[in-house]
């Protein structure tokens, strides 16, 4: 009974999400990968809001990045959690927004959460990204190669879904992610710490105040300081900066 109710909710949310996206046709930037999605998304939101204004750009609130979460993020609604009554209200609000809502951001930055085989397809049935960023394909378990190959398959679907006039941003620090380039119709831009990356970080240093590096992209060099720790912040910053410069 519970599962049937969940399936009905999923079905209607998916339908209404496709409707609202068809009506407003926003530019969609999708971020996927094992980790670092939220940081990439947050940096992109920051940079794009600087460029286009606060109201024109929206991202997933909380961790709304799954088959139920993603429609909620796009329709800008809260979860009904475990209450059937709340979910019915959510569906009603979703219907009103999808059919009659006038205001909608011009750009959506969406995390696509993928944990296992089959997760990406329902997400791509709702959204067709103009830009896709793939952060990494990493495992949380020892000896997890088979599950990583499954995730690779899901990322391949995302890569293939981006049209020719779109962009795919791939972390060149991750061999699996880098190898996705061969499946792309869209223009591929790589980012990372290695010399072969199209957009790269050089002269990386960490100190008590955070991290510094030189960002090199399209023959330009920019000195950057991030007041946080971890190379993933630098990768996220670069992915966001490239996104800002290409759209």
């Amino acid at each position: 009974m519970k599962n049937l109710f969940k399936k009905i909710i999923q079905y209607y949310l998916k339908l209404l999400t496709r409707l609202i996206l068809w009506r407003h046709k926003p530019y969609i930037i999708a971020v996927s990968g094992s980790t670092n999605k939220t940081t990439v998304k947050d940096y992109i939101l920051k940079f794009l809001r600087e460029k286009y204004g606060e109201k024109e750009v929206r991202g997933n609130p909380k961790s709304y990045n799954t088959e139920i979460g993603l429609p909620l993020a796009i329709l800008y609604l809260d979860s009904g959690e475990s209450s059937a009554v709340k979910w019915l209200k959510v569906l009603l609000q979703a219907k009103m927004r999808a059919l009659f809502g006038r205001k909608f951001p011009k750009k959506l930055v969406l995390e696509l959460g993928v944990e296992e085989r089959g997760d990406m397809k329902p997400l791509l049935e709702m959204v067709r990204p103009n830009v896709a960023i793939i952060t990494n394909i990493e495992g949380s378990y020892t000896y997890s190669n088979s599950s990583l190959e499954q995730i690779f398959g899901e990322m391949k679907l995302l890569t293939e879904s981006v049209p020719e006039d779109g962009y795919i941003l791939l972390s060149s620090d991750d061999e699996r992610v880098k190898s996705l380039a061969k499946f792309a119709k869209a223009k591929v831009i790589t980012y990372g710490f290695g010399e072969e990356a199209d957009a790269r970080a050089e002269d990386f240093r960490a100190d008590a105040h955070g991290q510094t590096f030189n960002f090199v992209f399209q023959d330009k060099k920019e000195a950057v300081r991030i007041k946080k720790y971890g190379r993933h912040f630098i990768l996220a910053w670069m992915a966001a900066k490239v996104t800002k410069s290409i759209i």
Binding site: T35, E138, G230
Partner: protein, 402 residues
């Protein structure tokens, strides 16, 4: 004391520091889902799943604490594993670790397991059990390796002030020491607009409200190479049985601790890592609800203690769910002529059927005190105090009803 209490039928326990609540549903459901999806049967990476560590780092960031989830965070089997693994990683046999007196009882055995020597530094009882920095410095020797303390402090419920913590950090830099900051009770801090619940040092210095907020040394970037931040899910999310906690520290030190952690437990329980992740993402409102209950129970407990003012003298705790009253000398002599707080607690257990923890368990300065936990249900607290009142009455004393 808890073991002794379990053998006596009908005992009400104010001894063990366990919240009366069950783990919130959202956490349990996430754990069940993880089990059903087959995510928990295998070892995770030694420091924990990437998702869990990333969630922890994002959560810490909101508290102004910045750590690299890939290299600086380790999920552990409870905070005591984090503490023991750290001590094993940093201590040579005979190294000394300064701990406040009184403090959490398990610090001493953990230091001894790592073949270190615990050195007590008495807190200033008259000043709401504040840190006495001069005493700390006097006890530093060439063998001193670290400070280990919990903030808020168990058993006194003291929140150490920003100024005191900064002074401690300066000492650590000056003498090249590690600081282990165990912040298991950080979510249960009861600030009030005015009144007597703030540490005296803060009141006397006319500090601003921001100075009275719980401050963590993990926010201080200048000591991140020597600071080990420890947090457990046990108390805040009512998850004592899940055995899940984490530590965060500079990557160089994290590498050393990880080697010990790997040898001790391989990885923290994977099902509990999923539960911990759900706790951070979904259970914030539950923590606030627990805090509200604890604050009410604290006030209720203090009212009941006020009625026993011929037996106990106490300071209203700012935090945690413990109160640490001093037993008045006359009463102590009467009930436990030769035995101090331990004998007092045993008598209370045997004759009033109320379990408390003798203050001596927390260090020499804890003698003549008992620890009472107000994390128990209101009904339990009420019954325990009814019994204590009756017991003290039977000792030929009068209850002061004022």
């Amino acid at each position: 004391m808890e073991l002794r209490a379990s053998r006596i039928p009908g005992v009400i326990s104010l001894a063990q520091g366990v919240p009366s609540f069950d783990t919130p549903d959202a956490i349990k459901n996430a754990a069940i889902e993880a089990i059903q999806k087959g995510k928990v049967a295998k070892y995770s990476l030694a420091p924990g799943t990437l998702e869990f560590r990333e969630t922890i780092a994002q959560h810490l960031e909101r508290e102004n604490k910045f750590f690299d989830f890939e290299n600086e965070i380790i999920a552990t089997a409870g905070s005591i594993e984090a503490i023991t693994a750290t001590l094993l990683a940093i201590l040579e046999p005979g190294d000394e670790v300064l701990i406040p007196d009184p403090t959490y009882t398990s610090y001493q055995p953990a230091i001894k397991v790592a073949r270190g020597v615990p050195v007590f530094v008495s807190l200033d009882e008259e000043n709401h059990w504040a840190l006495d920095i001069e005493k700390f410095e006097k006890l530093i020797t060439p063998r001193t390796k670290a400070f280990l303390f919990c903030n808020p402090n168990n058993p006194t419920g003291t929140v150490f002030s920003r100024n005191q913590l900064h002074a401690l950090a300066q000492l650590a830099i000056k003498h090249n020491l590690y600081i282990m900051s165990d912040e298991v009770y950080k979510d249960f801090v009861y600030f009030e607009n005015q009144g007597s619940t703030f540490p005296l040092s803060d009141k006397s210095s006319n500090s601003s409200r921001s100075n009275l907020q719980l401050y963590s040394l993990a926010e201080l970037r200048g000591i991140r190479d020597r600071l080990i931040y420890i947090f457990s899910f046990s108390k805040a999310y009512a998850m004592t049985g899940w055995r899940i906690a984490f530590l965060a520290t500079h990557q160089e030190l994290a590498k050393k601790i990880l080697a010990v952690h790997d040898a001790l437990v391989t990885c923290a329980p994977v099902v509990s890592q999923y539960a911990g992740m759900a706790a951070l993402e979904l259970a914030n409102e539950d923590v606030l609800r627990f805090k509200e209950y604890f604050q009410k129970r604290r006030d209720f407990t203090c009212k009941r203690l006020d009625k026993l003012n011929h037996v106990f003298k106490y300071q209203k705790p700012n935090s945690s769910y413990f109160v640490f009253p001093r037993i008045k000398e006359e009463m102590l002599r009467k009930i436990a002529p030769n035995g101090g707080s331990r004998q007092f607690a045993i008598e209370l257990l045997k004759k009033a059927k109320v379990a408390t923890v003798p203050g001596s368990a927390f260090g020499p300065s804890g003698e003549n005190h008992v620890r009472m936990c107000f994390g128990r249900s209101e009904e339990d607290i009420n019954t325990a105090f009814d019994r204590m009142e009756k017991f003290f009455n039977e000792q030929g004393t009068k209850i002061n009803n004022q």
